[in-house]
């Protein structure tokens, strides 16, 4: 057992965990923040994407102890004061989700994408989202959502 401390969605958290605990396990099992999903076991699907110190990270590829002292944001921390983040709102407005399982990871990746590319082309969006698998939407409306969000975010 080892102690790990970090900030998650603005709150200071700390727990005793096995050293091999993945960040995604820590988030889901210790913190019970179940919006971050697990869709694979080879770091391919992106369902587990969160932000660590502002960058998107697949939380299944990182040990919780590697996030010691970090500032972590999960899907639950994206909306502020009851206001949806523009990316969340765009996914709803443009039907960017169906079953919703990939959606938290997709939104977290998309937020990071727009941060780095404020005015992304369709091609950039498609390339950038290569690490997030959605089986439901065919991506058409996800691309549309990201584009719309980027515009609303003032890109």
């Amino acid at each position: 057992m080892t102690t790990v401390s970090m900030t998650v969605n603005g709150k200071q958290v700390s727990a005793d965990i096995a050293p091999n605990t993945l960040l995604v396990q820590f988030i889901r099992e210790n913190l019970r923040l179940t919006g971050t999903h697990v869709g694979c076991d080879t770091s391919q699907c992106g369902a587990c994407t969160v932000h660590v110190d502002g960058d998107s990270v697949k939380a299944c590829t990182m040990l919780a102890v590697q996030a010691e002292g970090a500032d972590v944001t999960t899907i639950e921390g994206l909306a502020q004061n009851g206001e949806l983040h523009p990316m969340q709102a765009a996914f709803k407005e443009n039907h960017g989700l169906q079953c919703g399982f990939c959606t938290p990871g997709m939104i977290m990746s998309a937020v990071d994408l727009v941060k780095r590319n404020p005015n992304p082309s369709e091609e950039t969006i498609r390339t950038e989202l290569e690490g997030n698998i959605c089986r439901c939407t065919g991506y058409h409306n996800i691309v549309k959502s990201v584009k719309a969000a980027a515009e609303n975010m003032g890109g």
Binding site: T34, Q44, G100, I133
Partner: protein, 783 residues
């Protein structure tokens, strides 16, 4: 009067709020106090006899609560998994359905077959303990390929299925077909492989079982598309618990595509084990287990021949298919290559006679069952690859050849030679619209331009038909189904005028919470925010058959309409009483009840309140405002349409670029166009996946699964797909009250044929799916 958020409006989805904020409740998000964790030890061999299993070291491992094997379940009187559709072979014999225990008893028959269930305080402890189980295997030679499994001398997988044959089935008039071929001016032939796929909903399967020792009640939370069917099978055939003592709950489910219809070994074992240890037990598949155990789809090998006269009119169609069932017969597996396949081989065409024969057999692979489209994509692939090949053989434009042979819009009801009665449609309209959308006539110029750029361009069409709205109970019963395929609904007003709709359908991405609420908003004038749709819990909703086969709106929606009709009927009586008029004079319009010829009116909300506070109320009427209904469809529905794909291939790499896609679908009336478009996008994406990227591959010698992760099984990603151009034609379905046909599977049905036809058109030669860059490059370079 029109209604806000009613039928036909692209209402934004009610369910999205919880999903976009991370507040969905998928199965693995749930935990119970005192829960233990289950882990399956699985067979590393494709085929082996089990000589012995030694659990002693594993049972002594830290944290282990208990370990069970197949023998324990058998000793407890638990039955095997069943197949719910009986197919009769040509010779009149019933299909062979060998025993299928939840965990192996004397042999394992595919890599990943369940051997033992280890339950421990933590998942890690369960995994660690599983490594201490000693299984003595007598390894046998496996067979994974269907043609080889059905050939003489193949390894015998089940004693009960000689020659590995499940059934040898036929449909149609063989003599008439033979005669037509004997006199035909032209005959075209084609050989096709429909590649095996892994459905891959993004949420892996999971189960959480709970036992209440006091009441004897069992609750299974599970990733199911049809919780009541799961309960029925687990009660009636496995003997887990009587139906009244077993509750099955399917909460938010992260995609299904067919793979979560079936009753699986893991869910069954989990709920059984929860009672054994008297503690909640949770099992969640990881992706590797999903690849090994989620029922696969497709896996057909087909030879087809088309007979034509001198004018290019079709005379007869002959199809012979071998279908791989995998190691065991899954829940509805037998129906997929027969009644969901052979019956669709008339496509959109007037074909005087058709004959199809299907041999289904067992192999040492994961069981195969329904996957998005289930039989109908396989049928469309055969029909539409055949049509394009025939047109090319005749030197005709493939769309002209189709238009010449289409069933005409005035021909309904149209009876096909393969026992379907098409009820409505306009096939030429959809095809001509799709051709316009993609500028079909401009293709030659675009091809020349591509050629000038050193690229190869191709265009391909698929005019598909599917039978949805599954299904009239009497019809499917006569064909061997063990269940009826009606649907249930209850519409329950609350005293304050809000509504709860209970449906036997199940949503796992389809957006029922919105679409069904739109029906209530439209019919009863209740604001959509005041309508709650409840599904997926056998203790809450009336017995229902669940969601698959694009049936939810056509069958489940119709059940809701029937319940609404009863609500309206009762409300008219209350309104008549309160407004002192006769019932015949009450008119109803979107939730407003008025007395004809007067300005007296009452709203649905006022009437519902009066029904719950019946101080002034008709003497002969029961209080309350809740009605339920069961709807058994009169016929299948027949969504149909044309998809045209245009591709550009880089001959130096073999990479296929989809440059355009036009989809015109006839889904009948549309409740929510936004959701329907989304279903088409998703379906096409899965079809593109099949045609270009996906394929389950086994090593033929060892029977090992070579495509067991996202590193090896190529899922379509954002940069593999184009934007799609989507339109609908809307010929209302005459057999159900909403006039709807179903839209969930169309894309997956149309896309593989359209895309492969485009690639074959570009290459000038046949290749099989998936058309990977390597395969395409080899075809171009004759390598």
């Amino acid at each position: 009067m029109s209604v806000e958020n009613g039928i036909g409006a692209s209402v934004r989805r009610k369910e999205d709020q919880r999903f976009i904020t991370g507040n969905g409740h998928y199965l693995d998000d749930m935990n119970k106090v005192g829960q233990a964790y289950g882990y399956f030890l699985r067979s590393p061999h494709a085929f082996a006899k089990i000589k012995s299993i030694d659990l002693s070291a594993a049972k002594a491992a830290p944290g282990v609560v208990d370990i069970f094997t197949g023998a324990d379940m058998v000793a407890d009187g638990i039955g095997g998994l069943i197949c719910g559709w009986g197919i009769t072979s040509k010779d009149g014999s019933p299909h062979n359905a060998p025993p299928h225990n939840s965990m192996a008893v004397d042999a394992v028959r595919h890599v990943g077959d369940q051997v033992a269930f280890v339950i421990a305080e933590s998942l890690e402890q369960a995994k660690n303990a599983s490594e201490l189980i000693e299984v003595d295997y007598d390894v046998q030679t496996p067979v994974t390929n269907i043609a080889k499994a059905l050939a003489p001398g193949a390894p015998q997988i089940h004693e009960e299925a000689p020659g590995n044959l499940c059934y040898d089935w036929e449909l149609g008039d063989k003599a008439a077909v033979d005669a037509a071929f004997a006199n035909a001016a032209h005959v075209s032939k084609i050989d096709l492989v429909n590649n095996r796929l892994s459905p891959n909903p993004m949420e892996p399967r999971a189960a959480l079982g709970e036992y209440d020792m006091g009441s004897g009640d069992l609750t299974l939370y599970t990733t199911s598309q049809n919780p009541h069917v799961a309960r029925l099978i687990m009660s009636a055939f496995l003997g887990i618990a009587p139906e009244n003592k077993l509750r099955v709950v399917a909460p938010d489910v992260g995609g299904g595509f067919g793979s979560k219809i079936f009753v699986y070994a893991e869910e069954t074992t989990t709920i059984w084990a929860a009672r054994k240890i008297n503690r909640p037990v949770k099992w969640t598949a990881d992706r590797s287990e999903a690849f090994l155990t989620d029922a696969h789809g497709r896996d057909h090998v087909t030879h087809a021949e088309l007979a034509m006269d001198n004018d290019g009119k079709i005379l007869a169609f002959r199809v012979s298919t071998q279908a791989n069932m995998g190691a065991y017969l899954s829940t509805f597996a037998s129906a997929v290559p027969t009644y969901l396949y052979g019956t669709l081989l008339s496509g959109q065409y007037k074909i005087p006679s058709i004959y199809v024969e299907v041999q289904a057999g067992f192999t040492n692979t994961t069981p195969v069952d329904a996957y998005r489209g289930a039989g109908r994509p396989e049928a469309t692939y055969v029909v539409e690859r055949m049509m394009e090949t025939a047109a090319r053989d005749l030197g005709m434009d493939p769309t002209e050849f189709r238009l010449k042979n289409f069933i005409q819009p005035d021909a309904y009801p149209y009876e096909t030679p393969v026992i379907m009665t098409y009820d409505s449609g306009d096939y030429p309209l959809a095809m001509n619209m799709a051709k316009d959308m993609i500028d079909y006539s401009g293709f030659a110029a675009r091809k020349a331009q591509s050629e000038a750029n050193g690229k190869i361009r191709g265009i391909g069409t698929a005019a598909y038909i599917e039978a949805c709205g599954i299904a009239p109970s009497a019809a499917v019963g006569s064909l061997g189904a063990g269940v009826g395929l009606w649907e249930s609904a209850e519409v329950r007003f609350n005293p304050t005028g809000s509504v709860t709709v209970f449906t036997g359908s199940h949503s796992h991405g389809q957006g029922h919470e919105t679409t069904f609420a739109q029906i209530i908003a439209d019919k009863l004038g209740v604001p959509i925010e005041s309508v709650e749709v409840v599904h997926g819990d056998t203790s809450k909703v009336p017995f229902g058959m669940g969601t698959y086969g694009s049936r939810s709106l056509a069958v489940g929606g119709s059940a809701i309409v029937k319940a609404v009709d009863k609500i309206v009927e009762k409300s008219k009586k209350i309104a008549a009483h309160l407004m002192e008029a006769s019932v015949e004079d009450i008119e109803h319009d979107h939730g407003v009840f008025s007395v004809a010829g007067t300005d007296k009116q009452m709203t649905m909300g006022e009437i519902a309140f009066a029904a719950y506070v019946p101080h002034n109320y008709p003497a002969d009427l029961e209080p309350g405002m809740a009605e339920n209904a069961f709807y058994d469809p009169l016929n299948f529905t027949f969504p149909a349409g044309t998809h045209i794909a245009e591709v550009e291939i880089d001959p130096s790499t073999g990479i296929v670029d989809i440059v355009d896609w036009a989809a015109v679908d006839d889904f009948g009336n549309v409740i929510n166009p936004m959701i329907v478009e989304g279903q088409v996008h998703g379906g096409v994406a899965q079809g593109v996946g099949q045609a270009l990227l996906e394929g389950v591959i086994y090593d033929e010698e060892s029977g090992q699964l070579l495509t067991g992760s996202y590193m090896d099984y190529c899922m379509p990603r954002a940069d593999d797909l184009p934007n799609f151009r989507v339109a609908t034609t809307n010929t209302p379905c005459p057999s159900n009250p909403l006039g709807v046909k179903g839209c969930g599977e169309a894309g997956a049905i149309a896309a593989p044929a359209a895309l492969m036809n485009a690639i074959v058109n570009a290459l000038g030669k046949d290749i099989n799916m998936p058309a990977t860059p390597e395969k395409v490059w080899r075809a171009i370079n004759n390598n």
